[in-house]
Symmetry: C3
Subunit: 469 residues, 3 copies
């Protein structure tokens, strides 16, 4: 099994799985509905015959779909799926020889279905080793997550300065308008920071304001007339021209080892754990927290706004799921929160049930997409979702959950799944089946949240691949 | 009088009243304005002559209006009135042999004037005796009001279940995402539940998510690929196909007496009155509360968000007005709240002053509509409104008031009406009349909020019908 | 110098300054960018040569711009600047012989860039001496600032009345829906009141509801049918017609000295300083507060929502800047708040750096406009801004800051300016210059917030006008 689980074969299986998954339930086929209704209305049929009848309907539907090339479900999954964002949905706002900042398009511009999170924006900063990222302030509240590397982040507060050394797993809040600069203090490793921004001025739009700088990044001081600057700073124009004319290498520049050492040597902020429960503003390390879910199939780390002042006014939870290779998370749904997920490492896929994209009211469209590093996907409140890691690598996903206060995660499989909570009679009435048959389905899985994934389970149970023919 | 107050005659009077009401003040007539200005500018006229002159202007205007068929005021009242919703403004989301769910269109889609309540939706559930309403969760906060019948409502909380027996007058809060199912536990009476929903994800839109079920209601489990489901639930596909293939009778189904007994026999939630003032989540019965207004002309029951945690985060007041036949409520206005009213029983009409629909700035358009069971009408903040019951039946109106915190009701007639509060000099300056004449008008009615209605008063005072010529 | 600072010459200089300011940095010129890039890439150049090269690029660009008539920057500053509002952006809602109410257009209608403040509206009331402003309620929360004159304001609360004598500098809150009337109690001086409104019903729109009145202002009672009014008020139609037919002089009318005396003689509200820190609702006088910034160049008075309950739910700060003639305020920026400024007295100009209006991403457009009485200008969060008074008069500016909670003002010049807070190495990396050169610029000005303005400084330093050639 260990052998089978490695190299080309699993990858192949994985691709196959994906294709068959997309073909599994061609729901929007009107012929299929009709066909099944006939099976149901056929009075002479017993239960077993009825089921066979329906299954043959599905076979036929599947054939029809394959003949017609890519069926409509496939096209949803690939092209009309507004919940998935890839490279082409990012725009470069900063690009220098030493790094870049990529900003994800406005969610609401992509689809009205995402207008609930329209005032959150996502950005990714990459910076080479030993670089300096120029001071700027933003007309947005910011939360940064250090996905990779080691940085020193300095904020200018009113009349003082705070610096923090941060590393992989650290979350740090930058209040709107705060001047901030940072360094990648590592000599070898690139720095990756994922930012979520909540604009405070023009809803859904934010801007960076560089004060220090010259031509590139252009300093906003240069937008004032020389006369006003001369008076305000009490210096002559020639001096001003010089100071605002030198920088032209952009907002991410190489820094000497000495400067890096100087800028990273001391943390000057308040201690990370504030002694009297007061206003801690330092970073939170997600990985130093006890995982809220943990078994051999995965781990979930969560920073909740009820526990962390820095996330409270944004009503934002930051979490990180590390799904073991060959395993999966969910299906489950969030009761109130909409979850924005960023794939940090690994690959896999996700599936989600969406009533909005369904062509017929009262049914659910499967939304799915392949996941790989850098892909962003969104699961709105109420939508059942499952995330599956590939056989090859752990799938690591950073999540921002908007509307976190009062949110609950309702499991749809495993321990505590909602169907298990129904009364016996409710199960019978809801499923139109004896309750023991319902329980046979919903009480079998005894893990919680993280489960063995499709392929792995197949191998464990040795059911010979039939499920993936 | 008792005799007169019954049968055809009052009905006829009622209709007449309605027509004359609609004709009373043809305000948007530019000719009328001109004519009255002439009366005013005629210097030789004394006060009495001026009034006579104006009255004759109004007569002429009325004639003009009648010649031209339905005047523009009439057409507002009937067709262009965005504040009134009838059958055609509801959409069926669920329809089975045993019941249905009707959802009112989005308020903001009807008119930009209602965009202040655009994130509230209204729905009405009807279910036959002894029926089961399938488990579902919603991407919306819900408040239910039992308008008729007796139900048992069960919610799945995290790792436990709560059931409540509810009846006429009960208000119950269902947090967003909570799986909920219910039964009509009455053997004979239909169940009517009015729902107000506040979507949490896509603003102004909500969806129902049925997990339990099969083909109809379709289970959202079916949107996942069989492979993912097999792995998550640890069962084989054939079993899955069976459990998610049986239910095809829809989300409202007949239930046996035994199942109804089993599902209704015990309340399993926390007590309704929580002993330590803590987080009570049980139902509130509106009719067990002391009425906030009460006299022989009507009664008003209110559940305020300041008193009930369940309504606090929605900033929603639920109230119920029972207006005695032949009586009326108001005129009054809400200072901050916008009131969504649903007629539960009886008939009558309402009148409202609206500056938005007026064709000339600085004046007010009369908005009015006949009321009968199922009609929904909206009175935005600040808008003076009166609701009048017919001579035949009490008019019973369920109200949801959005933006309830800090709201005051300002009476425009009877005890404590705003004009009575003005200083003597303010009355004189505002009305351009001696204050005793102003007081003669505003101090005569000594009832509060509920008053004898138009016809009734006429009979009581024996003023011979002149007012309704 | 005293001589020079007076009369035509400074005015001329002022105009010239304005024109050159507008021409100072023709940033959107693509030729200029190219030209400067060449200077930078010229390897044989030393620092000084490079600067000379760039300067000659700028000269050429300036010439190109002058040839082409009004350059595009000029047109921004004058015509396409969505941050400045003058007479033509106000609409008259009330206009009588004795006064008027002017309402500023909806901010968001002017520009999407202002949609963050779209639910605030601004209005200005002017009333002649000894006048009465009729009772009305609004579907909006109101904050009034008495910019000039002496008034008595009366509000009708539930079942009682509150009156306050107010004067220049008083801020008073009127809750939504509260009936309010007022008098100009001064015999000689006009009353000017600036209102900021936050609509509670239709977002961005508000209406006045006049109950007392007749034809002009029309009473909203007249929108009801006579039958309903007769029943509600328990009076006959003839009486109603009389009481609602007399007033025709509009909502601002002359009042006799006796009535003014009667209406102004007593304050009936709670004391202004509430003894137990409770719910004070009386006026706040801005000028009785200790100025938060004060030197010979100006004074700043602030009423913060954290200190004043009346401003808390609106999250609104009210402030007033009195900039000494020939002086300036800023440059600085607000971290979260968007500032709406109304020029109350004097003249001058403002400059602001805006990334939104810039034609190329990553640079800042100078936004500027001449200021005089009645001009309104908006500085969104994050935008660096400076306000400069003319040589002739103090510039007095009333400001409403929306989103005030958690806002900080970050100075860009003088004491505590952000650049001074950077570490030495950060200054060097950001400006690409030795830190002592950076400090020479940013440590020279030792005043805070208010500084000597452009012309004044020139004279003081006797630098011979070269800067304003
Ligand atoms: Cu969806
Ligand atoms: Cu209206
Ligand atoms: Cu801008």
């Amino acid at each position: 099994m260990a052998l089978k689980a490695r190299l080309p074969l699993p990858l192949l299986l994985f691709s196959l799985l994906f294709v068959t998954a997309a073909l599994a339930l061609p729901k929007e086929d009107p012929e299929l509905k009709k066909c099944k209704h006939k099976c149901r209305d056929e009075r002479q049929f017993d239960e077993q015959q009825r089921r066979d009848c329906k299954r043959s309907c599905e076979e036929k539907a599947r054939e029809r779909q394959q003949e017609g090339g890519n069926g409509s479900e496939e096209s949803y999954g690939e092209e009309e799926n507004p919940y998935v964002f890839e490279d082409e949905h990012f725009e470069s706002r900063v690009k220098t020889e030493e790094g870049r900042v990529q900003v994800l398009e406005n969610f609401a511009k992509r689809s009205k279905l995402l207008s609930g999170i329209e005032n959150f924006r996502l950005a990714i900063l990459e910076a080479n080793p030993h670089t300096f990222i120029s001071p700027a302030h933003f007309d947005a509240e910011l939360v940064l997550f250090v996905a990779k590397g080691r940085a020193t982040i300095t904020m200018v507060r009113e009349e003082r300065r705070e610096s923090f050394n941060v590393e992989h797993g650290d979350i740090i809040r930058i209040p709107a308008g705060t001047p901030v600069y940072m360094i990648n203090r590592d000599e070898n490793e690139k720095l990756f920071i994922v930012k979520i921004l909540q604009p405070v001025s023009a809803p859904g739009h934010f801007e960076a304001f560089y004060g220090a700088g010259g031509e590139d990044p252009e300093s906003f001081y240069r937008a004032f007339s020389w006369e006003v600057l001369e008076a305000a700073l009490k210096v002559r124009r020639e001096q001003l021209e010089k100071v605002f004319g030198e920088q032209s290498k952009g907002s991410i520049v190489k820094a000497s080892r000495e400067k890096i050492m100087a800028l990273s040597k001391h943390e000057e902020g308040p201690p990370r754990i504030w002694p009297f429960g007061g206003e801690s503003r330092g970073p939170i390390n997600l990985f130093h927290k006890h995982p809220s879910q943990s078994n051999q199939f995965g781990r979930l780390y969560e920073a909740h706004p009820d526990d962390h002042r820095q996330l409270q006014d944004l009503d934002l939870m930051v979490s990180f799921a590390n799904i073991t290779k060959g395993s999966m998370a969910g299906p489950y749904y969030n009761s109130r929160a909409t979850k924005i997920s960023v794939v940090v490492e690994g690959e896999g896929f996700f599936e989600m049930a969406c009533p909005h994209l369904s062509s017929s009211s009262g049914s659910y469209q499967k939304v799915s997409a392949r996941l790989r590093r850098g892909v962003v996907f969104v699961a709105p409140a109420g939508h059942p979702v499952a995330v599956i890691a590939s056989q090859n690598n752990n799938l690591q996903v950073l999540c921002f959950e908007v509307n976190a206060h009062g949110n609950s995660r309702f499991p749809l499989a495993g321990k505590g799944n909602i169907v298990n909570e129904f009364e016996r009679e409710a199960k019978e009435l809801a499923f139109n089946l004896p309750s023991r048959e319902v329980e046979r389905i919903f009480k079998n899985q005894d893990q919680a949240f993280f489960f063995p994934g499709p392929n792995k389970q197949q191998e464990e149970g040795d059911r010979g691949g039939r499920a993936f023919e």
